[in-house]
Amino acid sequence: MSFSDDILALAIEIEHENASLLDRVSDVMLDSIVNGSTLTGAAGQPMAPDNVPNAGKLRDSWRKTAPDDNTREISTSVDYALEIEDNPRGLHFTRGGSHSVADTAGAFDVICEIEATKLRGVA
């Protein structure tokens, strides 16, 4: 193989790894937002007791989409999601809590580092 062949092969490998890393990181972030995470400190989405109507509506609403090859979006269409995230009324939750999106976003660099390390198989 020529040097240019080697470079091309490396570029393709990096491209594949980037795509894989993008999905791994966004999966971890979605899980953190919805279920909480000791890594990020996120509490996860609050849930009402199971006997309450619409219990779990917000929690189940979070979705990950791929608008293009280089973008992953994590979103919810529930209109009170921001009220839960920022919690202006100081509500207390027995399951989950607020600030999960902020906590997860705050750990973005750590998540990327950990997932990149796993991808490379480095201990």
């Binding site: 202006p88 906590d103 705050g106 750990a107 660099d109």
Partner: protein, 150 residues
């Protein structure tokens, strides 16, 4: 590194801001406080570990550097239906007091740092009930300390 020292250092910097409400209208944790109905008040949430659990960032483990992170959320409650300016002025002053990579001295001589990758920014102004609208500033910070295995 003592978490309480980090908390108090952040609070001291907050309390030095001229624009925040007077002492009687500051709701600090574990202190009895009744929110006033006719004037603004402020509260803060100190959240160690938010944005990343403490971790060893250099080897060897003995005396390696531990990075501890957290968030300090300052919540300002202005009077509702009064427009945005008054609330915006206060939260702007809070953001300005915690610029990216600002070093704040701790009692043990080390520093806590305001994170430079995600600087403080105001939230939306949201209705908070009881004649109040809230705007929050999330301040992300980190502290480096030496890992003691003894």
């Amino acid at each position: 590194m003592i978490w309480h020292d980090v908390h108090m250092a952040l609070r001291a910097r907050l309390e030095a801001i001229a624009e925040i409400p007077p002492e009687a209208d500051r709701a600090w944790s574990n202190v009895d406080f009744t929110p006033p109905l006719d004037r603004p008040y402020i509260e803060s949430l100190f959240r160690p570990g938010a944005g990343g659990a403490p971790r060893l960032i250099s080897n060897p483990a003995a005396n390696g550097v531990v990075e501890s992170r957290g968030s300090y959320i300052v919540r300002y409650f202005g009077l509702t239906h009064r427009g945005e300016q008054e609330i915006s002025d206060v939260v702007q002053a809070i953001c300005d007091a915690f610029p990216p990579m600002k070093q704040i001295l701790l009692p043990d001589g080390t520093h806590l740092y305001i994170r430079g990758d995600q600087a403080p920014v105001p939230s939306e102004i949201l209705p908070a009930g009881r004649n109040k609208s809230m705007c929050a500033v999330t301040i992300l910070f980190f502290v480096h300390s030496f890992n003691s295995l003894s």
